[in-house]
Amino acid sequence: MGALQRVLLKHPAYFLIAPAALWLLVFFLFPFVSLLSTSLSDPSGSPITGYEMTFRFQNYADVLADYWPYMVRSLVYASIATLFCLILGYVLAYAIAFKAGRYKTILLVLVVAPFFTSFLVRTLSWKLILGDDGWVVGTLQALHFLPPDGRLLATPVAVVAGLIYNFLPFMILPLYASLEKIDPRLHEASLDLYANPIRTFFKVTWPLSLPGVVGGVLLTFIPAAGDFINASLLGNPNTQMVGNKIQQLFTTAGDYPHAAALSVILMAIIVVMVLFYVRRAGTEDLV
């Protein structure tokens, strides 16, 4: 009887966890190590023959010098989108949690339902909505918010609007989960103690919903920062994000080491931001 067998028999939990742990090891940890190793490889190889690992840190300097505007653009677009998602998502999550009464479940289902239509198909439909002959552009032009030849499609506005739309449910669900736990009697108590509704919101509801805010912001910001679909379909060559560059380097350019280096940088920035943000927000029980 081997040592492994003894351990397994002693802890039935290891039987249950082993398949998932193995999968995560082989298809998450190994790939990440591969990514790091590729990012330090000599770019003179090819995807077919493989790349030679030479600790070439120059790759990182190269991509930072060449592509930093894409990185900055991604972070800016994702931040704006996250802020809008927080505002829109909070209103809807609050309405469902406190004002929907017996329609709570139905409304929650309605929040998720549109997202069963393919992501790409829905994003393409924004091309029509924001198109130059569409009523949105027409109305904005009539109201002089846009110059007569102004457009929305193929502008940063369209890209950010696409990001907001696509990642909104990732904000709503965690917000709802934490708003729903708040006892409505706390609102009544606050109002009884002569706080007006606005004060009640900022002194009672908002602080209690912070775990949801932190979760929602992370779940919105992270995918938005790595996205390239909205930038590709709704933007123009000057609104490309870092995701566009990574995927171009991998697929059309076939320059894996530089693509991998850019990917590692994106991940590193996100990890640093997440750690900093989670510490500031004071909720470390996310995991």
């Binding site: 249950l16 966890i17 990514l35 998502g89 339902a113 239509t117 198909v121 995927q247 991998a260």
Partner: protein, 272 residues
């Protein structure tokens, strides 16, 4: 600012919330509308020309589209089954057992969800190429990737359902002389099942919809999102909107049906 003010205040929030919800449905309306669009001879593919039923009558007319839907369904089902089994087992281990490495495992499950898809996809591609599989990208590499990103969502969903479970119910079953396996299959499993079902639905929709990771690891295999992406460069066939609308109707039917079923079951149980 007394009762009238408060009435307006409370209904204002609800009205604004419903507006946000309406906004989330605009693209679905457009997709449904465009599925009836006659785009033949149109220069602008992103405007409604005239009404037709052709797209619905000949959904498979665009070359390769229905094949791509079939590929997506097969990959979606396989990934869902695998991820649901692996994830459910892991969720039981994490909630019901204390073991060494438990918090490491929790972190490992959280990490893929906190990683942007482009990073997940590129690291998988880097590994496949390093392993000499660069020429064999296709069905199996897509499937492995899909199982990976569905897995975390399954664990999270089932875990939350399981930890919300009242363990007194199981103790009661044991007190009533049910043995361990009876307790599990007659009490625990039925109570956790809605969570498992929800996780499976989520997995399927994540897998069916994935583009970023799939695109990097697909080789020559074309899934439905990849078909749409490829078509978007030239001009999307309107049948894409038919598929989009059908998916929406299916999903709504499953979710609403499940909800009605749960309500009826609750009523039957209450009447006993």
């Amino acid at each position: 600012m007394t009762r009238i003010g408060r009435w307006i205040g409370s209904h204002l929030v609800l009205a604004l919330g419903l507006l946000v919800l309406l906004y989330m449905y605009i693209p679905n309306f457009i997709v449904a509308l465009m599925s009836f669009n006659d785009s033949s001879g149109a220069r602008n593919l992103y405007a409604f020309q005239s009404f037709t039923l052709d797209n619905w009558l000949n959904p498979c007319a665009p070359q390769g589209m229905c094949e791509s839907v079939r590929v997506s369904i097969v990959i979606g089902l396989a990934a869902t089954i695998a991820a649901t089994i692996l994830g459910t087992l892991a969720a039981f281990a994490l909630v019901r057992h204390r073991f060494e490495g438990r918090s490491t495992m929790n972190l490992m499950i959280f990490l893929p969800m906190a990683t942007p898809e482009i990073v997940l996809g590129s690291s998988l591609l880097a590994m496949f190429v390093a392993a000499g599989l660069g020429g064999q990208l296709g069905f199996w590499t897509i499937l492995a990737a899909h199982i990976l990103f569905c897995l975390s969502f399954v664990v999270i969903t089932v875990r939350s359902r399981l930890s919300g479970l009242d363990s007194n119910l199981e103790k009661a079953a044991m007190d009533l002389f049910a043995n361990e396996s009876q307790t599990f299959w007659r009490v625990t499993f039925p109570l956790v099942f809605p969570g498992i079902l929800g996780a499976a639905l989520l997995s399927f929709s994540l897998s069916f919809d994935d583009f970023i990771i799939t695109n990097l690891n697909s080789g020559q295999t074309v899934t439905f999102p990849m078909f749409v992406w490829g078509a978007a460069q030239r001009g999307v066939p309107m049948q894409v909107n038919v598929i989009g609308t059908l998916m929406f109707i299916f999903a709504l039917a499953i979710v609403v049906g499940g909800e009605l079923f749960a309500r009826r079951r609750a009523k039957v149980l209450a009447a006993r």
